[in-house]
């Protein structure tokens, strides 16, 4: 809240610098098999209304019964956000009418959420890190889905999503740039995926963000904010904030004022626009849901969940730096996705971790990026890459040959050691064989020998020739040592 923006984060306006203030409300679909209050499936993409119970369809007399897994997942998420866990929380009805909300209200948590204040540490590309406060996390039901494009006069409603558990995670207005906002959602997503409490799939709506944006002169009181609804990719979040901040600055500099309103981001035009139908101020008339008793959990239960939390990205990063002596940057790259970190750890296990990190980050990631893949669909398994590194470590192949081997394993597969043997790629460490190569080169080039004796740097020419005549397979170390002796350097 009191964090000061670095000067380069400020936005230049006609009347001087402006600071953008951003808070986020993130809706994360809870990973569970069945819905928050019914036994219908949460699976994505079923036939219309096939994952719907009479509870989700709000038939009269149906009663909600809470799914203990969703409660557990919300608490685990709270613990991962280093947040206060409320041992007693209450479900309320948030009343509004919309065709995809058959109950006429959403069961949500208003005054007493299951999770209170917490924080997330966000690392920025320039190395700076920012602590972003979490205001709260509460459990609520998702709504159904309306399709508007099938008929000019009618909307088609599918309730498969109706009643699926969501965690609404609300940040404090601690973000000061679109970069920070993008880094925040990236980090939050990473934490959720490490915990296994949300799959983080923004394309399928598993993670959606509403972004609150306001602008002010640095140090001034908070400006009036606009809420940008349902921005469904990290890139769009950045674009929406950039557009919205400039829009607000222009209005204020032209002598106007900002109306507090809900806006929609249009990814095709890269702009936000007012959602006019929401102009009438909402009055949700929250009250405790009489169908549900308060949600109570014990301290022992919370402690148990806490003791079973997996290692989260920040801890993993610290451990990689401590145990493997990796740089902050390398460790950050490796822990960003859980699958990546797991891949790296399995490559590094029992091997030179720095060498493993280099191969994973430079060769593997480089190659994966080029082909638009990620580590989960890598043609090269962690054990293959590990095998390749073993061959470098025990001197069987040189670093140069290793890159060729990488290509072969990538496109053709196979066991690294078997490939090296079958294709004769092992480096020649047999000193007798190397000596014969050296003797031949020396015998044919007496003039170069004289040069090398006068200027030891000229020995590099011999190294090159010997490597060439060995087909690149001679051990460079052995070649160097032997040449020095033979040339008397």
């Amino acid at each position: 809240m009191t964090a000061q923006s670095k000067p380069d984060r400020l936005i230049k306006g006609a009347s001087g610098d402006w600071e953008v203030v951003i808070g986020m409300e993130v809706h994360a679909q809870v990973t569970s098999k069945s819905k928050l209050f019914s036994g219908a499936s949460t699976e994505f993409g079923g036939a219309p209304n096939s994952h719907v119970s009479l509870v989700d369809a709000a038939m009269p007399g149906m009663l909600p019964v809470i799914n203990e897994e969703c409660v557990k997942q919300a608490i685990r998420t709270g613990l991962g956000l280093q947040a206060q866990i409320n041992l007693k929380s209450v479900f309320d009805r948030k009343n509004y009418f919309y065709p995809d909300l058959p109950q006429g209200y959403q069961i949500s948590q208003y005054k007493s959420p299951v999770v209170g204040e917490g924080e997330v540490t966000v690392d920025l590309p320039d190395g700076e890190s920012v602590t972003v406060g979490i205001e709260r996390l509460h459990l609520e039901q998702d709504a159904g889905k309306s399709l508007h494009d099938r008929n000019p006069a009618l909307s088609y409603v599918d309730l498969n999503r109706s009643g699926v558990a969501l965690m609404e995670i609300v940040s404090k207005p601690d973000l000061r740039s679109s970069e920070q906002a993008k880094a925040f959602i990236t980090k939050l997503r990473s934490i959720l995926r490490y915990l296994g409490t949300c799959d983080g799939d923004m394309e399928k709506g598993g993670l959606r963000a509403d972004v609150n944006v306001s602008v002010r002169k640095p140090g001034a009181a908070l400006g009036t904010r606009c809420e940008i609804k349902n921005v469904n990719s990290i890139r769009f979040i950045g674009q929406a904030i950039e557009f919205e901040a400039r829009r607000q600055i222009e209005i204020i500099e032209d002598g106007g004022t900002i109306d507090q309103e809900t806006r929609l981001f249009d990814p095709n035009k890269g702009e936000t626009r007012s959602m006019r139908s929401k102009e009438e101020a909402h009055d949700y008339r929250y009250f405790p849901d009489p169908d549900l008793l308060p949600l109570e959990v014990t301290e022992k239960y919370v402690a148990e969940l806490k003791s079973q939390l997996p290692e989260l990205p920040d801890e993993k990063k610290a451990r990689f730096m401590r145990d493997f002596a990796l740089s902050l940057y390398d460790a950050g790259v490796l822990v960003a996705e859980r699958e990546t970190a797991e891949y790296f750890e399995s490559v590094a296990k029992g091997r030179d971790a720095k060498l493993a990190a280099n191969w994973v980050i430079n060769e593997l990631f480089g190659r994966l990026n080029k082909e638009g893949r990620d580590v989960t669909t890598s043609p090269l398994s962690a054990s293959q890459l590990g095998g390749l590194i073993d061959l470098i470590a025990d001197g069987t192949i040189s670093g140069k040959i290793a890159k060729e081997l990488f290509e072969i394993l990538w496109s053709e597969g196979g066991d690294p050691r078997a490939v090296v043997t079958a294709r004769g790629m092992a480096q020649v460490t047999d000193l007798g064989a190397i000596e014969r190569f050296i003797d031949a080169v020396i015998a044919q080039n007496p003039d170069k020998v004289a040069q090398a004796k006068a200027n030891p740097k000229a020995m590099m020419w011999f190294v090159g020739q010997v490597m060439k005549s060995s087909g690149g397979k001679a051990s460079p170390q052995a070649v160097n040592d032997l040449l020095k002796t033979k040339l008397g350097l």
Binding site: S38, V65, E69, S155
Partner: protein, 95 residues
């Protein structure tokens, strides 16, 4: 606490209940009579008493996370005035 005619119209609108203009005055009096009745509770001193959210001295029952329901679109859509391909059809709503 009491409500005026404008509040009655607003509550009716929020609840999507059609109220004819001629009914407003009467409804206002009825609601105010109820509010006055409930207002008697204010006479009770509740200093230091925790708000009661439930009258049953029991903990909320929780379900296991198992899929036990669904796959019956026919039953779900049985009362729908209009449906097609297992979708509910409603008058067009566009934001």
């Amino acid at each position: 606490m009491s409500v005026d005619a404008a509040t009655v119209r607003r509550i009716a609108h929020l609840a999507r209940i059609a109220v004819a203009e001629g009914e407003v005055e009467h409804l206002k009096d009825e609601i105010n009579a109820m509010l006055a009745f409930v207002d008697q509770l204010k006479e009770v001193n509740v200093e230091g008493v925790e708000p009661m959210t439930s009258v049953t001295p029991m903990a909320m029952k929780k379900r296991h996370d198992v899929v036990t329901d669904g796959n019956d679109a026919e039953a779900v859509l049985k009362n729908a005035p209009q449906s097609e391909d297992n979708f509910f059809l409603v008058p067009k709503v566009v934001e």
